[in-house]
Each structure stands twice: as structure tokens, then as C-alpha cells.
Subunit: 172 residues, 2 copies
């Protein structure tokens, strides 16, 4: 279990999720992801997207359905998900939700070398961080509140990280 995936970029999960709904072309995926705020949870770069789409096709998880061209714009390839793709999507998603995996963050790295700085400076920096977080979180919270009517799934979603970090600073 938890064997290595042939396409491991989380963006691939997003692609499959979107194609699970209906066939579409790459650029449309970007647009949809942005509309739905998925780019907040999955790192989204054009270049990665196209390479991930290519990889998924190689692995037979998605297939091109048609290539259309409007006017003199570059042509767009519409993809659809395959049976194997659906299966892979569900397996992967289940695994992500069920099994905690070690995640490395920049901040954790920074914290672990805290000792390289004089204590007063460390405290000052972390306090500053605290202020940044507070104001960012306020913004997030209010955006969430106003968006709550349309999208009822997210709810609390990002705000917990606030608690985590507040605790850390409190601890210092």
C-alpha cells in the first residue's frame, strides 16, 4: 500500500477530478480550478499542468478525445478520463485521506535552525510572523464567510493553520 504512483504530482489528481466531471481541455482546467479556488490547495503552473496531462495520457489514465481549433488560436486538445483513470483517482484520493504522510514545510525547516539566531531576534521575528498571520487570516475568514452561501463544502478549511501557528508562537 502507498506504492509510488506513476504520476505523483497532486496536480494530476486535480486533472482527473475535473475530467471525472466531464471532458475538457487543459486551459479550461486552469480556469475552472481558479474559479473554484482549487489553486489554493494544489500548486498550479501551466508548464506543470501540460506535462502532467502528457504523463497521464502516457499512462492511459486519460485519452485525447478531439482536437479543435478556433480561428487562428493554438489548437486545444480535449481530454477525457478512462476507466483506469477513474480507478486511479479514487484509489489515490482514498489513500491521501486515510493515511497521514509526513509533509515537510519551509517553516518547519526554519524553526529547526532557530538556534542559529540570538534568542531575542528569534522572538522578534516570530512575533512579526504572528502579526502577518493574524491579518492574513482575518482576510481569509471574511472571504470564507461571504463565500459560504455558494460553496458549502469548505467551511473551516484553512483557518486551523492559524491555531497551529498561534500555538507555536504562544509556546515561544
Amino acid at each position: 500500500m502507498a506504492s509510488k504512483r506513476k504520476v505523483s504530482n497532486p496536480l494530476a489528481l486535480a486533472v482527473m477530478a475535473l475530467l471525472y466531471e466531464r471532458p475538457m481541455h487543459a486551459y479550461e482546467m486552469v480556469t475552472l480550478m481558479r474559479e473554484r479556488g482549487k489553486h489554493e490547495s494544489v500548486r498550479l503552473r501551466y508548464s506543470s499542468l501540460y506535462s502532467v496531462v502528457g504523463a497521464l495520457e502516457r499512462e492511459g489514465l486519460i485519452v485525447p478525445r478531439e482536437t479543435v481549433r478556433e480561428g487562428r488560436r493554438p489548437e486545444r486538445t480535449v481530454y477525457e478520463i478512462t476507466g483506469a483513470g477513474r480507478e486511479e483517482f479514487l484509489t489515490w484520493l482514498r489513500e491521501l485521506l486515510r493515511e497521514p504522510v509526513k509533509e515537510y514545510t519551509q517553516f518547519a525547516a526554519g524553526l529547526s535552525f532557530l538556534a542559529g539566531l540570538p534568542p531575542e531576534e528569534a522572538v522578534a521575528l516570530l512575533k512579526e510572523r504572528g502579526r502577518h498571520l493574524e491579518s492574513e487570516n482575518e482576510g481569509m475568514r471574511s472571504r470564507l464567510d461571504t463565500a459560504m452561501e455558494q460553496w458549502n463544502l469548505p467551511r473551516l478549511f484553512l483557518v486551523e493553520s492559524e491555531h497551529e501557528l498561534m500555538l507555536r508562537e504562544a509556546e515561544l
Copy 2:
């Protein structure tokens, strides 16, 4: 501010931190990092380490001091940090601590496609995750407690993630 670093892998921060203490060779860095548990906060692979060391050298942040060979073992190059390296280390560390940056986690990605699963299954999976976390955290906590005497810096350090995730599940 927050301009792109020439060597951006957090492992580079670790290397500079170690060489800040005293010159050493690559393999010794691995040993020390493991001893001190730094590999819990910074992803550590041999291959990445050697390439990071190479990059740091190219950038003039560290320099080889001598190459020694014991018996017929592969030769080891001892590195030391330069003035520029010290400066870069401090700047980077300060930035990491001061400025919150968006971090993408696997779990966040998974959560954001939760809707792809039937609600009961989602709940079941997250509950399972909760159990895993609980037992893992228990282990962590006891290891921390026993190690507390020797290393007094870490204290709460990893345990807050427990709270974060417990809150998330509670929310579901």
C-alpha cells in the same frame, strides 16, 4: 524581499547551518542531521545532498577545504562556509521565520476533492486517519518527553499538527 534564492532546497539551509558550526564532509552532515533529528523537518536524500553541496559551492557559499582519503574508501571532501554563505544563511533563516509562505500539502489536495467520494466513505476515511494520527502522536509525544532533558529547544514542535488535524476531523 523574498527574491528567489540561487539554491532553494531547504537542505541547503541545513548544510549551511552545519558548516556554520564547523567544517565537515557531506556524509558527516547526514550523520549529524540524523542524530539531531533534523531529517524530521528537512527532507534528506543523499543524492539531493550532494547536488545541493555542489550548487552551494558553485555559488561561492561554501568552499572545499581539503580532500582526504582513508584506506581504499572513496575520498571525502571537507567543506567550509564562506562569508557570503554565513550571510545567506542568516538572511534566508530570517526570511523563513518572519514571512509566512503558502505551503501546499498532500492532505490539503486530498481534502479539496473530498466531494468526489460518497459522504459516508469520506467520513470513514477521515476517522481512520484520525486514529492513525492519534497513535502516531502518542509515540511522538513520549519520544519527545524522554528526549526533553538533552535537547531543550524543540519542546512542542510537532505536536501542534495533531491539534490542527483533530480540529479538522471534529469539523467533519
